[in-house]
């Protein structure tokens, strides 16, 4: 834990509001957050507390109403859509609860998709290594709908790691899996992140997973209400 040096992700007064006046919903309300390279952070909170919205804004999937997000020291608020897609495929790996694999592509193609979109040369040994680590070697030619939930999520993890992003964002990655598979997937995710030195931010409802993290942030009504384990962040309620 003492190794945390650089801040890879930072937010400043990050807000996301929906609606107006009486119907105004503050999904994310002035959040200030700093996450260091290689850190494993979990975000917990009740349904509707703003976890997913926060994660989407951290991953350049959604635009904030106000406030700023820095990724690797760059403020992404000023970026155009093309630059944002570049950030998404180079710096960020996203894992969804519903796996969200592309049904027409096989497992291997799903994994190398972000690399292909970036026009990067394929480091096959690296991908093979991920595939092996995640136990998908036998399934590379399978189409997603022929895989079990656990296998699909492992494929999604492989996809998130493939382009060697510095940040992996996971939105309830075990939510659609049974406990045993969930634990298995989570430990694989953690191992891989560690192996490749990636920052891992996970939304979860699972206590056990939260326990594994370096730091757990609790959200309620779009605000951070507590931070456990870690002591290095500025928490402004």
């Amino acid at each position: 834990m003492e190794n945390f040096k650089d801040i890879i992700l930072k937010t400043e007064n990050l807000c996301k509001f929906y609606g107006a006046e009486d119907n105004l919903v503050k999904a994310v309300d002035h959040i200030n957050l700093q996450i260091k390279q290689g850190e494993f952070v979990t975000i917990i909170g009740k349904s509707g507390s703003g976890k997913s919205t926060l994660l989407h804004m951290l991953g350049a999937l959604d635009n904030p109403t106000s406030g700023k997000v820095w990724i690797n020291g760059e403020n992404i608020a000023s970026f155009k859509e093309d630059k944002l897609s570049q950030i998404r495929r180079r710096k960020i790996g996203f894992i969804f609860q519903a796996f969200n694999l592309i049904p027409s592509l096989n497992v291997w193609e799903n994994i190398v998709l972000p690399l292909g979109l970036d026009g990067k040369p394929l480091d096959e040994s690296f991908i093979n290594d991920i595939v092996e680590t995640l136990g998908l070697t036998e399934k590379t030619k399978n189409l997603p709908n022929t895989l079990s939930g656990g296998q699909q999520q492992r494929c999604a993890i492989a996809r998130a790691i493939a382009s060697k992003p510095s940040i992996i964002l996971a939105d309830e990655p075990t939510g659609n899996l049974d406990t045993k598979t969930g634990n298995e997937v989570m430990s694989l995710l953690k191992t891989s992140a560690k192996k490749y030195g990636q920052t891992l931010i996970v939304i979860t409802h699972n206590e056990e997973i939260a326990q594994m993290a370096d730091r757990t942030i609790m959200l309620a009504d779009g605000k951070i209400i507590s931070v456990e384990k870690g002591d290095t962040l500025n928490n402004e309620k």
């Binding site: 989407h56 049904p103 022929t146 382009s163």
Partner: protein, 833 residues
């Protein structure tokens, strides 16, 4: 769930899936518009024909009478509703002018003739009174004013002594402008004189009754074509008139007695195709909507919805959309032709040969009856049926959805489990992966789009072959001018006009041809194949009419003609050398072949008329062909012809090729030369083109309208395909963007898909469309439909189609991807969750 719950659910689904609702609505609306539009145009066309037929005159038949007893008997006949008698008093003698003097008498009221409506003055009553067109009076050198004097030379009954008389102009008919552009000999000029003049000649015995009685019989409203013609023939028989002395106004009778079966069956055929395609479009929208709604359907079933309720849910959606789209379509479909027809009429009027015709067209504008209640009801029923039939399969699919399966549902990729795939992914890989994911859907889409474009290409193939030039080329196959010999074959009264006598005068001598070649601007003068008169003593129906011997032209073909003759061969075979050796003959007219019940192997003992000399020749019929060029009915080989040792100059037609710049001056010179010989007729390309254009325009405009409608359906199909393929994959596209697909890459991927659809569509439509189009052309040519003669490849139409498809799909792709971009990525990923 109660029924009103299903209704409410259907309503909310319509509101929720706005783009789908709009698409279905547009598809139903456009289909209704097309059906109603085509149907209304059909009704309007029928009514136009009816009015057009009535406009000129309303007589049923003309009887040629030779005795006053016949005239009296006819006017008192019980079947005759109304009648007018036109007595053919005399032939006007004035150079090449083709003129006659007649006397018009209204025997029984009820007939009208458009060309007899006076513009000024009155009909002749006194012996020296005359009325005609102003142009007629100008043509004979008189001033066309009431009270003006005109002196005419004429021969009573077209024979006997030449008489000259001064007339006073008492009436003027409305002027026609045709006279300035068409050669004199091709117009029949008529003038009307009084009954009293006629009677004065009759009393002295100088005039023998020669009368055309125009009449209507009772029962036009109730009788069909056959019944009314039988009635007319029976009337003729009653007064002792042979059938050959009556002429039916077939066009008028057809139009008035025909309930429009032919027009309506064409309309029904087009409508059937329209329904077929739109049913496919509507079906595919609902098919996709069931697939995308499968989870929702599963949830409804899990909540206890019965199969019937699910079915009703879809029916309600269909009915609610129809409730708006059908009435809107009916309105637009009715008013589109309502407003477009006047334009078509004007265009027809512009291209019409003479001003009278264009006048009719203009008069008709706004008077055409277009509304038909049965049509309205039929279209409504047809549309409800279309919507119902397109819902059947999707509903069956929806009924089968099991609640458990549904909630887990991922789009069906068939039984496929593995995909070979690629080691590296590019945007093109994504494009292809999506198209091959559901090969059946891709194929069906390309096929339906392709087929509707096939219709387009097919119709253009026929349309591009209706060319005014081809029609003109039938009269002037070579060069820019044709000088034709006017000849008869069977004229007993004036045998000097028969071909065998005319050829003796050697009109087209070498000296004459040299004279023509010397005209400044004439590049080449060539003779057409010579023709002579022939008759046969055999019993073939070809050379006999009602037991009487008839004469036909007889000619030859050269080795150069073989291609044209062989490629249009119907029966038998054409072997030039064998035909020469065995004295074989070729028939060049299918209709006559069938009509005269000819058969291959028939022998004809012929007499050929080489001027005054008679040459016997027995020939055997060995082939039937229907060539593009004009030939005599029976032709032998050139070698056989030459071996006959004919001595006359058999040329009946010559063609002149002239320099473009000198066209007008050559025409003038030729007109002067031709004017000197009463047996010559001059055909010039510009006049023939005008005639050709006027007959082409009758087909062209309605056909173009249909073509545009077909293009609209094809395009609707394209729009639907693109929109559904993108909208239904919104979530997937969102995921792709979440993992880094840029907007530019998205547009590239979607355009790639569109391009493949377009390429497939074009491939199918060009290949199939041209094959079918050519077959359709051959059929049309065979049945003499639309006066087609030469096939023209629809190059421009094909290029247009390719451009429209390419540009159209690019615009739609761009438009939809821009629209998608506006929606946030997150919303798209969550779509359907």
């Amino acid at each position: 769930m109660k029924n009103n719950t299903v209704f409410t659910l259907a309503m909310s689904k319509l509101r929720f899936h706005k783009s789908r609702t709009l698409l279905t609505g547009i598809a139903i609306f456009l289909t209704t518009t097309l059906l109603m539009g085509i149907g209304t145009s059909g009704i309007a066309m029928l009514d136009m024909n009816r009015q057009y037929a009535q406009e000129r005159s309303n007589y049923h038949a003309a009887f040629y009478l030779e005795t006053s007893e016949q005239l009296a008997a006819l006017s008192n006949h019980i079947s005759v509703e109304s009648m007018a008698a036109v007595e053919n008093f005399a032939t006007i003698i004035n150079g090449k002018m083709n003129g006659f003097l007649s006397c018009y008498e209204n025997v029984k009221n009820g007939l009208y003739f458009d060309n007899l409506r006076l513009a000024e003055g009155c009909f002749p009553e006194k012996e020296d009174e005359i009325c005609s067109l102003p142009a007629f009076f100008e043509r004979v050198g008189a001033e066309p004013v009431i009270g003006g004097k005109v002196t005419l030379s004429f021969r009573v009954n077209g024979k006997g002594e030449l008489q000259t008389k001064e007339f006073t102009i008492c009436g003027l008919l409305p002027d026609k402008e045709i006279t300035s552009n068409i050669d004199d000999s091709r117009i029949a000029w008529g003038a009307y004189i009084s009954k009293s003049l006629l009677e004065s000649y009759e009393q002295t015995g100088a005039y023998q009754l020669s009368c055309t009685a125009y009449l209507r019989v009772y029962g036009e409203e109730n009788l069909n074509y056959t019944e009314i013609t039988d009635k007319i023939k029976a009337t003729a028989a009653d007064i002792g008139l042979n059938e050959e002395f009556i002429t039916l106004d077939k066009q008028y009778l057809y139009t008035m007695t025909d309930p429009g079966t032919e027009t309506m069956s064409i309309v029904a055929g087009i409508c059937f195709i329209v329904i077929l395609f739109s049913a496919l479009v509507i079906y595919s929208i609902y098919y996709v909507s069931v697939i995308t709604d499968i989870q929702e359907i599963g949830k409804l079933k899990a909540l206890g919805a019965s199969k019937r309720q699910i079915a009703r849910l879809f029916f309600w959606q269909g009915s609610l959309i129809s409730a708006f789209a059908i009435p809107a379509g009916l309105l637009i479909g009715f008013f589109l032709p309502y407003f477009l027809f006047p334009f078509i009429l004007q265009a027809l009027g512009r291209d019409a040969l003479d001003s009278a015709e264009s006048g009719y067209m203009e008069n008709l504008t706004g008077k055409i009856h277009m509304f038909s209640l049965p049509l309205l009801l039929t279209v409504i029923l047809a549309m409800l049926f279309t919507v119902w039939i397109s819902l059947l399969k999707p509903i069956r699919m929806a009924k089968k959805v099991s609640p458990v399966e549904a909630i887990r549902y991922q789009e069906n990729t068939g039984s496929k489990k593995l995909r070979k795939g690629h080691r590296e992914i590019k945007v093109t890989t994504l494009t292809l992966a999506n198209l091959t994911r559901n090969k059946r859907r891709t194929t069906v889409t390309i096929l339906t789009m392709g087929l509707s474009c096939v219709l387009f290409i097919c119709a253009s193939a026929v349309l591009s072959s209706t060319s005014a030039k081809d029609i003109a080329r039938r009269n002037i196959p070579e060069g820019e001018f044709r000088i034709a010999l006017d000849y008869s074959l069977n004229d007993k009264e004036y045998p000097e006009n028969n071909l065998e006598n005319l050829v003796q005068q050697n009109f087209f001598s070498d000296a004459f041809l040299t004279q023509l070649s010397d005209i400044k601007g004439v590049e080449k003068v060539e003779r057409a194949h010579g023709k002579i008169s022939s008759s046969s003593d055999g019993d073939s129906a070809l050379y006999h009419n009602n037991g009487e011997k008839i004469y036909l032209t007889f000619s030859y073909f050269t080795r150069e003609d073989l291609q044209d003759l062989s490629s249009n061969l119907i029966y038998g075979d054409i072997d030039y050398d064998r035909m020469t050796a065995n004295r074989e003959v070729l028939c060049t007219h299918e209709y006559t072949f069938n009509e005269c019940a000819l058969a291959l192997g028939d022998t004809f003992p012929l007499t050929l008329y080489d001027g005054s000399r008679e040459v016997p020749l027995t020939v055997t019929l060995t082939a039937l062909t229907q060539p593009d060029a004009d030939y005599s009915l029976l032709v032998i080989t050139e070698d056989l012809w030459n071996s006959l040792g004919l001595t006359c100059e058999p040329t009946t037609d010559i063609y002149l090729h002239v320099e473009d710049k000198q066209y007008d001056s050559v025409k003038k010179t030729l007109a002067d030369i031709v004017a000197e010989n009463p047996h010559f007729t001059l055909y010039s390309l510009d006049e023939e083109m005008r005639i050709g254009r006027s007959s082409v325009s009758l087909i062209k405009y309605p056909a173009y309208l249909i073509l545009v409608l077909i293009a609209v359906i094809s395009f609707m199909n394209l729009i639907n395909t693109m929109i559904t393929s993108i909208v239904t994959r919104k979530k997937e596209l969102g995921i792709l963007q979440a993992v880094g697909l840029s907007n530019r890459q998205l547009v590239r991927m979607l355009s790639g898909e569109g391009l493949i659809f377009t390429a497939g569509t074009l491939l199918i439509s060009v290949i199939l469309g041209n094959i079918l189009g050519y077959l359709l052309f051959l059929y049309a040519k065979k049945t003499h439909f639309m006066s087609l003669s030469r096939y023209h490849y629809p190059l421009w139409e094909t290029i247009c189609l390719a451009l429209i498809l390419l540009i159209g799909q690019s615009i739609i792709t761009l438009f939809i991807s821009k629209k998608i971009e506006k929606e946030s990525l997150i919303e798209r990923i969550r779509n359907d969750e």
